[in-house]
């Protein structure tokens, strides 16, 4: 009935009907997006997904493109979560956000909510009730979460873009290619780390790895196993500088011990020594920081507690002498213990902000140099915050630098 060259993928009868518009414009557009992505990547079919995580939510980054989201109708087919927006939903006024921006941002959020997407705006969906299981297929945007889901949790997702994750959420399916297929998840290049690492060392390591491996999946050999928070920072930094959606660490990555896993590993090997890390830190030390920011990706409750302890030790009752912001997910703050910790942190003059972050909010554009423990911020602050610099150091030094 239709010419052969319209699409190459195999669609079921039902999928074809959606493609032809029988279930309305929204689903037709979503299906067209999935089919185009599938064809470009030589996918044979669509597969069911368990959850979706959608980026492109801050009004600062999407601007008038929100009209597209606003024009969509219906509901998402699977549990779907959102990335950070441009402001704290409750404290935007206090942050210095303009009324105009706040109104636009509220409209964007309402457009997503109308589609049935959960309004918990965070880059760590896996810590607030959207934790996928091993082998589950997902369509996630937000590179740090994609790397964490594939490499630490053993779920399967490609690095989706903002509209493709949204399209997958609306259909409940994604094209079957790339990291959804076991044969594409094998490590291709070995990275040997020849020193002990802690805290922001994982941000520095990830930054270097992403730069060096590009789109090749690394097998990272480290003397000791990183904590969950360290894995989060490693994932974020690799995602910021590389274009690969997965890494392997034996003892962490569920499938790294599987038979035949090393069949694609090349002879090539990258060695990282202690002085490489030291040089990396030294290079980022360019000027005096005028602000401290922690929480890219959003802080876990463990990290909040640790920051409080560091403030207690370093501050000895004094308030911080520089602007100091901590970013986290609202859902993380909603228990009694964490709320009390946040209160104590704020007593030091530090601001704890939810739903947003330093990079995607317009509130932090007037700083010159930010001290952070995040490799992802080191990459994106210069690009998205009017050319400000980011200086990487360990969490402890970030806190010390505030007094």
């Amino acid at each position: 009935m239709y010419p052969d060259n319209r699409y190459d993928m195999h669609l079921t009868k039902e999928e074809e009907q959606i493609y032809e518009g029988e279930e309305g414009w929204t689903k037709k557009k979503a299906m067209e997006i999935l089919v185009a992505i599938g064809d470009i990547n030589h996918a044979s079919k669509l597969i069911q997904i368990k959850t979706a995580h959608v980026s492109g939510v801050s009004y600062k980054t999407i601007g008038e493109a929100f009209e597209f989201i606003n024009s969509l109708e219906g509901r998402v087919e699977v549990k779907s979560t959102l990335n950070p927006i441009g402001m704290d939903i409750e404290k935007w006024d206090e942050m210095g956000i303009s009324k105009e921006f706040a109104n636009k941002q509220t409209e964007v959020l309402a457009a997503y909510k109308k589609l049935g997407i959960s309004a918990d705006c965070t880059c760590i969906p896996y810590l607030i009730g959207n934790a996928p299981g091993k082998g589950e297929h997902l369509a996630w945007a937000e590179s740090s979460a994609v790397l964490y889901a594939n490499s630490v949790l053993g779920a399967r997702t490609n690095m989706e873009g903002a509209p493709s994750a949204l399209a997958a959420a609306l259909i409940g399916k994604t094209p079957f290619y790339g990291l959804h297929q076991a044969e594409n998840r094998k490590p291709e290049i070995k990275v040997c780390v020849n020193c002990d690492l802690a805290d922001a060392d994982y941000s520095a390591l990830g930054f270097m790895i992403g730069d060096l491996v590009g789109d090749k999946i690394p097998m990272i050999e480290i003397p000791s196993l990183p904590s969950k928070d360290e894995l989060k920072h490693l994932s974020a930094a690799i995602g910021a500088t590389g274009s690969v959606g997965m890494y392997h660490i034996r003892g962490i990555t569920p499938e790294s011990e599987a038979e035949g896993m090393e069949s694609e590993l090349s002879e090539e090997k990258i060695e990282i020594e202690k002085n490489d890390l030291e040089e990396f830190y030294a290079l980022s030390r360019t000027r005096e920081p005028d602000v401290i920011a922690i929480g890219c990706p959003h802080c876990s409750s463990r990290e909040l507690k640790r920051i409080y302890e560091l403030l207690k030790t370093g501050g000895e009752g004094r308030k911080v002498g520089k602007d100091f912001f901590i970013f986290t997910a609202r859902a993380i703050t909603q228990n009694n213990q964490t709320q009390r910790i946040i209160e104590k942190i704020e007593n030091y003059g530090v601001k704890v902000i939810c739903d947003t972050c330093f990079v995607v909010s317009p509130a932090f554009e007037n700083y010159d140099c930010v001290l952070t423990n995040s490799g992802k911020m080191q990459r994106y602050v210069p690009l998205l915050c009017r050319g400000a610099k980011a200086m990487l150091c360990k969490t402890e030094e970030c806190v010390r630098g505030a007094f």
Binding site: P3, N5, R6, Y7, D8, K29, E32, I33, A36, I37, D39, I40, N41, S55, G56, T61, I62, G63, E64, A65, E67, F68, A141, E160, G161, A162, P163, S164, A167
Partner: protein, 134 residues
């Protein structure tokens, strides 16, 4: 002369060709409100892409580029159609949501083989996946 390719984004449009031999990063290289190429490293720097048939190898850079293509359309500054050597997901998705016709994988490489000259009249049929030179 009709040249077959692959349908990436539906719709049909005639227009004058604008050719870039370099890939385009829509986020950063194109001003979404004026349609002017603002990336100085590009050979087509300073050119306006609105109402042209934009011919280039493919997209690159941030996936937010898809929303830049949508913004160009909203401002009336988008190309009337695009032809890629190999479309990538950023351009494909942007074109689909903005409803701009796109064809790729032509039988003759439109860039390498210098098939089309700058300003030549081209007809793009994104629905059926071919272009026509008249």
């Amino acid at each position: 002369m009709k040249i077959k390719g692959r349908s990436i984004s539906k719709g049909v449009a005639p227009g004058k060709a604008l050719i870039s031999k370099q890939k385009i990063s829509f986020l950063g290289a194109v001003d979404p409100t004026t349609g002017i190429i603002v990336d100085k490293s590009m050979a087509i720097y300073g050119k306006e892409i609105n109402n042209r048939i934009l011919i280039f190898p493919g997209g690159k850079g941030s996936t937010v580029g898809s929303y830049v293509i949508y913004q160009l359309k909203k401002h009336g500054k988008s190309p009337c159609a695009m032809i890629n050597r190999r479309a990538d997901t950023i351009v494909a998705v942007g074109a689909i949501i903005a409803e701009i016709p796109v064809v790729d994988s032509l039988e003759i490489d439109p860039i390498e083989d210098e098939l089309i000259w700058d300003g030549e009249e081209v007809y793009v049929n994104g629905t059926e996946g071919y272009i026509e030179l008249r």
